[in-house]
């Protein structure tokens, strides 16, 4: 499908937020789902890039993605002017809603770095149904624009920065433990680097709180056909490879095998 670039702004060091006009599709998207974006007509870069939808303006048919410029694909994205056409497959993936129980009224969002984007849409979509606490970690306060959107949707926002330049100094998981000692929420939803997710899964198990996580893996098709995006999912004593693009990206944290 063709999207039209509606806005494309640098909001933090090497992080851009882009609005894309997608029409009626916009309102059908659930948090955790992603857009698979072709970055130009050239064969270099060749593959689409998966980017989470982080905000929806359903009324105007606009979705927002926030992306860090890392390599060829995201660099190309950053160069696109307002009005440019984007070749997009969207929405792809299962979504948090598809995995979580239906009756959620209290949810803690635990995210690190660029892993906060799918949680942002989750916050937007659950703000009226559930009490939201956002516990987010960043390198420094330069990334303030990444946590600001959470403030309007959350009962409470706890920020940890690695350099202590804002909020608590340290890891987001440390703050989570402190908070869990005081109260156990109905469910935790996490997204971030796989090391962080691994700790999160351990903590959730230890405190016996249900936890869903959104994973990232290198992708090809994004639609479930090429089997390159797999992660190890345990069920009983067995494990199987499951596709992050269609079986996920959201899984129960206790099912994910993080050992690789």
């Amino acid at each position: 499908m063709t999207g039209i670039v509606y806005s494309n702004d640098l909001i933090s060091p090497s992080i851009y937020k882009m609005g894309i006009q997608l029409g009626d599709t916009a309102e059908s998207i659930q948090a955790g789902q992603f857009a698979h974006v072709r970055c130009g007509q050239s064969y270099d870069p060749l593959l689409r890039r998966p980017i989470s939808v982080c905000q929806i303006d359903a009324e105007n048919g606009i979705i927002y993605i926030t992306y860090q410029v890392k390599g060829k694909g995201t660099r190309w994205l950053a160069e696109q002017a307002i009005g440019s056409k984007l070749d997009i497959l969207c929405p792809l993936g299962n979504s948090f809603e598809a995995v979580m129980p239906a009756d959620i009224n209290e949810i803690w969002l635990v995210g690190g770095g660029i892993g906060v984007f799918p949680l942002q849409l989750l916050a937007q979509q659950y703000k009226d149904k559930a009490d939201i606490v956002s516990i987010l970690g960043f390198r420094s306060d330069e990334f303030k624009p990444l946590w600001q959107p959470f403030e309007q949707y959350s009962k409470r926002v706890i920020i940890a920065t690695e350099d202590g330049s804002y909020g608590y100094e340290g890891l987001v998981t440390d703050e989570l433990i402190l908070a869990l000692r005081a109260h156990k929420p109905q469910i935790i939803a996490g997204c971030g680097p796989s090391k962080m997710l691994k700790s999160l899964a351990c903590i959730a198990e230890q405190y016996d709180v249900p936890c869903v996580v959104s994973l990232e893996e290198r992708m090809g098709c994004g639609i479930g056909a090429c089997l390159v995006c797999n992660c190890k999912i345990k069920s009983d004593d067995e494990w199987h490879y499951r596709r992050v693009c269609t079986d996920g990206p959201v899984f129960w944290s206790h099912e994910v095998s993080f050992d690789e």
Partner: protein, 304 residues
Amino acid sequence: MNEINMCVDICGVKLKNPVIAASGTFAFGREYSRYLDLNRLGGISVKGLTLYPREGNPPPRIAETAAGILNSVGLQNPGVDAFISNELPYLKQFDTVVIANLAGNSRDEYCVAADKLDKADIDMLELNISCPNVKEGGLSFGATPESAYDITKQVRNYCHHPLVVKLSPNVGNIKDVASAAQNAGADALSLINTLLGMAIDPHTRKPILGNITGGLSGPAIKPVALYMVWQAAQTVDIPIIGMGGIMNGNDAIEFMLAGAVAVQVGTANLVEPMATVRIIDDIERYMLDNGLKTIKDITGGLIC
């Protein structure tokens, strides 16, 4: 009349057009049915099947390279039996040719699986002796003319459907392997499978793929694929199905000019789910523009 006939006949099997979805990039068709009408395709070569189910290789399984991709899926598949009971009936609903792509770890495994598939309702068998992503088997069968001859001969005994042998580009001389497959009884050849390759992350100092090495596909390999198809076409009398980096109609035409009667489209599906259908339309337009009436007017038409 401006009637264009895009049909091709491969050993008695009629394809409505020369465009086949390549093995491993199209699964068993289901995922693509959301994006295109499977009835439009000349054929579908399904994900490589093995006798028993396989989980495949550890992630990451894909690395993007300049104009190409490396994959190290390693033949993750539900096994031949599950294919026959769960996937084949789905595919047979559509008016398209179903090609079963078969790989194995040993001669016996190939033969038992070939026998099962042969008794099922497939249209053709594609013998994959060129998968670079499994330790034993796969590529090792396709690496020399002798081993290619041997495995083709064995499987031939169990296969009463047209037998397509899929060749590896990781050989010294493609002509010798092509001849060997023909002599062993192949009804057709398909080529190329992926080139052995590798990618390294200079920062972590680790290979990007979980399996260290992988198979290179996509536009990057097109010149090599085209050369090998041209070489094979000059060597054998049986039909050739060409592939390797086909992204658009012009690419497909180049392979046909070099001697292919049909083409397979792989990596392009990962980039654009509608790629196969767009390529069919492109070929039709090329035929119209050039006043060509049948695919025979293209195949082997290289002037040199």
